[in-house]
Amino acid sequence: MKEDFEPKIVAFLCNWCAYAGADMAGTSRLKYPANVVPIKVMCSGRVDPEFILNAFEKGADGVFIGGCHPGDCHYVNGNLRTRRRVKMMKKLLEQMGVNPKRLRLEWISATEGAKFARVIKEFVEEIKELGPSPWRERR
């Protein structure tokens, strides 16, 4: 069952680092699984906790957030707020019966195409291990 399970993952990528890093992975032709669909936001700090809950409610098996490295956020410190928010959201998800591993935050700079491809590969494998989100049935 796990074999043919193809997880659905949403990736919120900040415009300045992670989105550019994902472009870099493309320019360098680095392959990674197609399960992840990117949604660009100006800063990882824009990712409202509600976006995350909403994605799981709609049936996502995983949510990925990509931002700039600490200190490199184009908007000074939006990413540090994201880090705090993600911590809080992980706790909340756990209480709500969703494995917190389904939410992942990574720092990816505009030059780190290889890192983007690698962490997406890892994340997809991890979600495959976990199986479909328990919230899928609620729909």
Partner: protein
């Protein structure tokens, strides 16, 4: 709200269509609500492609378009310009199905993902508002960080065009690495002789404000409106009074290594790094001085007839407003101690290429004589090792680009100094791509009879008075042992630590070599991702002087283009507050990194000229009362819905 959306799917030759079934993408998206038209085309960005968009907007009466093609970083501007004639540019969005789809996925999955990406873009577009750019004034002054040849050239170009330039150099003098070089390839003109006039021109230019021996403390703001904090370190010598007589230096009892001479020559605690230094003045090195206390020493102060020395000089912090910034912070050589295989640092007779440059310089530690540092004798056998730390996975994987050329120069100059000496060069490949470079290498190889050996050096060890250099000639397979007197390492060129700090302040990315990341590797090589910030010289990648100068002039022309406008257009993607429902909690005011949120009648208000549109406030507002223009919660939620 857009009701008649057209979708244009680009083949990008085979770049997209070779992987993604573009016809299917078009067919599928036609079924999506509000999409009334969809088609595909070879190259959307070409003239015929752009005309197709125009024609269809008219024929099909479209009120918005999605271009499914490459990254918006490439062509968003192109396509928005096409649409401008018909409707607001925010009625055009790009769906990135190349960089983030066809180039990274295969077959059916790629097509499925492309459809999702296009659907999400349509959903976003539906709710986009028509926006006009916010106009902000431009401060027509430029900051240049770093006074090497690149910084000097950029500053002169801008100043000559009539705009004010603030140049900040952290060392006591401008000049950078070029001031340290002896003669320059391929024409062998004397480096100082071609550099000094430019240094002087800069210091005398009425439009240039030079802060030497200064550091950047902080940079804030955005294109057209940066505020820079500069620390002026105290020299303890008044630049205007110092006559460069050198009397202070004679009496100073402290001796330390001179950095300019790569530590191969001593200097005093009060010193001038090299005779042609600009500004032309002595500097007292606080760390080396016997405590700056008149009671302890004070000999220089007594010796200075001009009364230029002032022990009470204090650091000064100044603030400057500029509209654009050019980073020209240069390069370092790779840390020599990391090349353990060559035993650098342990042996006096293994030196770096820059140390050799100083040795060749008439004003250098040996007055231009080539010697074996351990004994002072003239070396009769010399070995140059190229790619020391470059093109090596254990060190720096990239090519440092200039070492083939300067090693050939070094070998040639060695033969001119020591005609009966033998010179060997170990190389991997010879890369001589500049104008006249191949001819220069050929001349060195043939006329000067330098022994070029293709291969890597495995080990160097000492045997008595000699260094034994062991390697393999990979062309013949022969093992080679050379009993050398002197070994010169053409060290890898790397980015500077200082560049990393500047990059942090400017929020610019840095690659593994420590070089600044340009906005586009081919089409925007001198621009940072953030507007108003440009690069020049070796801080962006290793390069020779002609390329550094060319890049500097390119950066300057970008700045001049910016200054040609009185007002700049700023992205209108700012925060909007629903004042009616604002509870006045002040969370947005506390989280905004730009101070763009303020109080007005007990409620929060966004100052649009300051707002950068990060959206941190929107995510933080507990009453969910802040929306980001064209990145509204509703839009993002819709996008999520269609991709799952």
């Amino acid at each position: 709200m857009a009701r008649r959306i057209g979708v244009f799917v680009c083949h990008c030759g085979v770049n997209i269509a070779g992987v993604v079934d573009v016809e299917r993408v078009a067919e599928e998206i036609k079924k999506h609500p509000n999409v009334v038209f969809a088609t595909t085309y070879q190259y959307m960005c070409s003239d015929p492609g752009q005309n197709l968009i125009r024609q269809k907007i008219e024929e099909e009466n479209l009120d918005a378009v999605v271009i499914a093609a490459c990254s918006p970083a490439m062509h968003e501007e192109t396509f928005r310009n096409v649409c401008k004639d018909y409707f607001n540019p925010y009625r055009c969005e790009m769906a990135n199905i190349r960089e983030q789809c066809s180039w990274v996925h295969d077959g059916k999955e790629a097509t499925e993902k492309a459809i999702k990406i296009v659907k999400a873009t349509v959903e976003k577009l539906k709710e986009n508002e028509d926006l006009l750019p916010i106009l902000v004034p431009v401060e027509k002054r430029c900051l240049v960080i770093g006074g090497g040849i690149a910084g000097i050239q950029a500053a002169l170009d801008i100043a000559d065009a009539g705009y004010e330039v603030i140049l900040v150099e952290k060392e006591p003098s401008i000049g950078g690495r070029m001031a340290q070089l002896s003669e320059t390839f391929p024409t062998l003109d004397c480096s100082q002789c071609i550099l000094t006039p430019k240094m002087v021109a800069l210091s005398r230019h009425p439009k240039v404000k030079l802060y030497a021996y200064s550091e950047i403390l902080d940079i804030s703001g955005y294109v057209g409106n940066f505020t820079v904090k500069i620390l002026k370190k105290p020299r303890y010598v008044d630049e205007d009074k110092c006559t460069v007589c050198g009397d202070c230096e004679k009496v100073c009892p402290v001796i330390v290594p001179n950095e300019f001479e790569m530590g191969r020559k001593p200097r005093k605690a009060i010193y001038i790094p090299f005779p042609q230094a600009v500004p032309s003045t002595y500097t007292l090195d606080r760390e080396a001085c016997l405590g700056l206390a008149p009671l302890t020493c004070a000999q220089c102060k007594d010796a200075c007839e001009a009364g230029a020395i002032d022990y009470d000089m204090q650091p000064k912090i100044v603030e400057e407003k500029v509209g654009a910034i050019i980073v020209a912070t240069g390069y370092n050589l790779y840390d020599k101690n990391k090349l353990v295989e060559y035993g650098y640092g342990e042996d006096d007779d293994i030196i770096t290429s820059l140390e050799f440059e100083r040795m060749l310089s008439a004003s250098g530690p040996t007055q231009g004589k080539i010697i074996k540092p351990s004994t002072g004798e003239v070396p009769k056998k010399i070995v140059f090792i190229q790619c020391a730390g470059s093109r090596d996975r254990q060190h720096m994987p990239y090519c440092s680009s200039i070492c083939c050329m300067y090693t050939a120069k070094h070998a040639l100059l060695y033969k001119h100094h020591v005609p009966d000496g033998e010179a060997y060069v170990f190389y991997i490949d010879i890369r001589a791509t500049g104008k006249g470079y191949e001819e220069f290498i050929a001349r060195v190889m043939e006329e000067e009879r330098i022994n070029y050996i293709r291969g890597k050096v495995a080990k160097i060890y000492r045997e008595g008075n000699k260094l034994i250099v062991c390697g393999v000639d990979t062309l013949t397979g022969r093992r080679i042992e050379i009993k050398a007197d002197l070994v010169v390492l053409a060290m890898a060129i790397v980015g500077k630590e200082e560049t990393k700090e500047i990059a942090k302040l400017l929020k610019v990315a840095i690659d593994e070599g420590g070089f600044l990341k340009e906005s586009h590797p081919k089409l925007k090589p001198v621009e940072a991702l953030s507007r108003g910030i440009y690069f020049a010289g070796c801080c962006q990648s290793p390069k020779d002087i002609p390329s550094a100068v060319a890049q500097a002039s390119a950066a300057a022309s970008k700045v001049l283009a910016l200054f040609a406008k009185d007002r700049l257009e700023k992205d209108p993607l700012v925060a909007v507050i629903d004042e009616e429902h604002c509870s006045g909690c002040g969370v947005c005011i506390s989280v905004c990194p730009y101070g763009a949120m303020t109080w007005q009648n007990g409620k929060a208000k966004c100052i649009e000229a300051l707002c950068e549109g990060c959206g941190t406030c929107a995510a933080a507002c507990p009453s969910n009362n802040i929306e980001m223009r064209n990145f509204k919660d509703e839009q993002i939620e819709k996008m999520v819905e269609v991709v799952i």
